[in-house]
């Protein structure tokens, strides 16, 4: 009996350990495969003209994604400009000012909003901005992406603000510094690395969003025409080119996918570097 029990425990131990290792390996493998395959498919078509030229009609040689790269940067920039103040202030409210009940209600709302399907956010932006303005526009896309970013920024900002020791708040308040000044000059600087990390993670997340852009930015291969006009973006163009029947466009879609993954990877690595520096 004892012998049997020991053997069984040993095997259960081995199997579970093996499953854990296997799962971890699978997780890494998926990432490596995606990176490797986009790299393999895309890198041969990435060249200077791909980055510097705008799209050309089918049949013409060359052409690139210059306008879409700029478009993605503009959209992410717009979304950040809108969501950073709102998200940060919400985070400050949650951590510094909110009463227990109100704060937990806001926190729950933010968490629900984080899980909102991005296509629904796109439809929402379509209804509140595109329809009244009678035009697809960069600004509506910026708002849609900002809606996705706000809860992420708010929650990460809250978490990092909470890590700032209470003794520092008390020290500042006891000097006769107002609460808002205390937050801005003592608490936020102490949480800055964490806040920046949250903002960059949110940027990385929306840089690859496609669904909300279909309802808002629409796409446009002629470059930036103004905030009230449609604008192109990398994920939109990938989708469009990948759905097309032309081999050249498929190649360009791969190249664009590679570029997009590279952008997001860069952000992730910077975040990693920032967080490791914070711990040091």
């Amino acid at each position: 009996m004892e012998h049997y029990s020991y053997n069984r425990r040993r095997w259960v131990n081995r199997v579970m350990l093996g499953l854990c290792i296997g799962s971890a390996g699978l997780c890494i493998m998926v990432l490596v495969l995606i990176l490797g395959y986009t790299l393999y498919q895309g890198i041969s078509f990435v060249n200077l003209s791909f980055i510097t030229q705008s799209a050309k009609p089918i049949g013409e040689a060359g052409g690139g994604m210059h306008n879409e790269i700029i478009g993605t940067l503009i959209l992410v920039g717009l979304a950040t400009a809108i969501s950073l103040p709102v998200g940060l202030m919400t985070g400050i409210f949650l951590s510094e000012f909110g009463g227990p009940r109100l704060a937990s209600a806001v926190r729950f709302t933010a968490d629900v909003l984080t899980g909102m399907p991005s296509i629904v956010v796109g439809v929402f932006a379509y209804i509140i901005l595109v329809r009244p303005m009678h035009a697809f526009s960069a600004i509506s896309a910026g708002v849609a992406l900002a809606i996705i970013m706000i809860p992420v920024i708010a929650r990460t900002a809250e978490e990092s603000l909470r890590l700032v020791p209470n003794s520092l708040r008390e020290a500042a308040l006891a000097l006769g510094i107002s609460r808002w000044r205390t937050v801005m000059s003592v608490v936020v600087p102490g949480a800055l690395a964490g806040i920046i990390t949250g903002v960059m993670l949110a940027m990385a997340r929306v840089a690859g969003e496609t669904a909300p852009l279909m309802f808002t930015a629409l796409g446009n291969t002629f470059g930036y025409q103004g905030l009230g006009k449609p604008i192109g973006a990398l994920p939109l163009q990938i989708w469009r080119y990948a759905m097309s029947p032309y081999k050249v466009w498929h190649q360009q879609a791969w190249a664009a996918a590679f570029l997009l993954v590279l952008m997001i990877l860069t952000i992730s690595i910077v975040v990693r570097w920032l967080t490791s520096r914070r711990r040091a």
């Binding site: 009463g99 008390e170 020290a171 000097l175 006769g176 510094i177 107002s178 000044r181």
Partner: protein, 286 residues
């Protein structure tokens, strides 16, 4: 002139101008508390009940008593830091120079400038240099912005806190790079820089080694010439060594702290009137 600067009230200035006799002026020193029927709660928990006492200006008043008797809560009521805790509430009157600091028109931010505080654990702002730590109170309240003024006040405050000689060459280093005792004196300098009338000290030496403790005790004697000092301490020898007046707090049956005995330090330690004070001082409990 110094008095005139400190008061800031024209009515009082006029009254002072009428006083020709200098001995009379000495009695109108600023920074005395008059506390009447003070009660403090944390949500529904009554932490402090019916404290009535006067704290004299320009002297060191020690608050002693066992853990949990409301000593810290009490001094946090003197600069309205108690209400910072969620659900905290105060009742009663705390008059500083005759003005109730819990009056509806009183702004806690202004009160805290007049009543500074040093905490149990040294808490310099880690992201700021030694210089900026001391200047923080002035810079962040936008009271002084000219560099020359700041430099002067910072040096003066660091000298008062007996720290200048040790840090004058590293004013630009982080405040967190100093030793524990130096950090605590940095916090004292930071509190002094905003020119308060009162400095509250909540067990300022409990996180420090004996040498650092001695330094802080030595410097308190000097500070008492210009500031009212209220110090909470667990250490009865310390209270006996440094204070002029001492108040003994005790937790009652209902777990609310109350004032048992208050008097001159000498009298309280050598000839306590209350049996409980005697028991505590002779080490029979607590």
């Amino acid at each position: 002139m110094v008095l005139k600067e400190k008061t800031g009230y024209t009515i009082l200035d006029n009254r002072l101008n009428c006083l020709k006799d200098k001995t009379l002026i000495a009695t109108v020193q600023k920074g005395g508390f008059s506390i009447m029927g003070l009660k403090a709660w944390y949500r529904h928990f009554l932490a402090l009940k019916d404290i009535t006492m006067d704290i004299p200006p320009r002297a060191i008043t020690a608050i002693i008593g066992p853990s949990g008797c409301g000593k810290s809560t009490f001094i946090r009521c003197l600069n309205r830091m108690h209400e910072v805790a969620p659900g905290a509430r105060v009742e009663g009157k705390v008059c500083l120079d005759g003005d109730d600091i819990y009056d509806k028109t009183a702004d806690p931010v202004v009160i805290r400038r007049r009543v500074g505080m040093v905490f149990q654990r040294p808490n310099p702002f880690p992201a700021m240099s030694v210089f900026d730590n001391v200047a923080a109170g002035l810079k962040l309240t936008r009271l002084h912005s000219r560099r020359r003024e700041l430099v002067e006040i910072v040096e003066q405050s660091l000298r008062q806190a007996a720290l200048w000689d040790e840090v004058k060459d590293k004013l630009n280093q982080s405040g967190a790079s100093l030793s524990g005792g130096q950090q605590q004196r940095l916090c004292i300098a930071r509190a002094l820089a905003v020119k308060p009338e009162v400095v509250l000290m909540d067990e300022p030496c409990s996180a420090l080694d004996p040498t650092a403790t001695t330094k802080i005790e030595d410097l308190m004697g000097g500070l008492a010439k210009e500031y009212t000092i209220v110090i909470v301490t667990h250490n009865m020898q310390q209270a006996a060594r440094v204070s002029d007046k001492a108040a003994f707090f005790l937790m009652g049956e209902d777990r609310a702290g109350s004032l048992v005995e208050y008097g001159d330090t000498n009298q309280l330690f050598t000839n306590p009137k209350d049996r409980r004070t005697e028991d505590y001082i002779t080490g029979r409990f607590g």
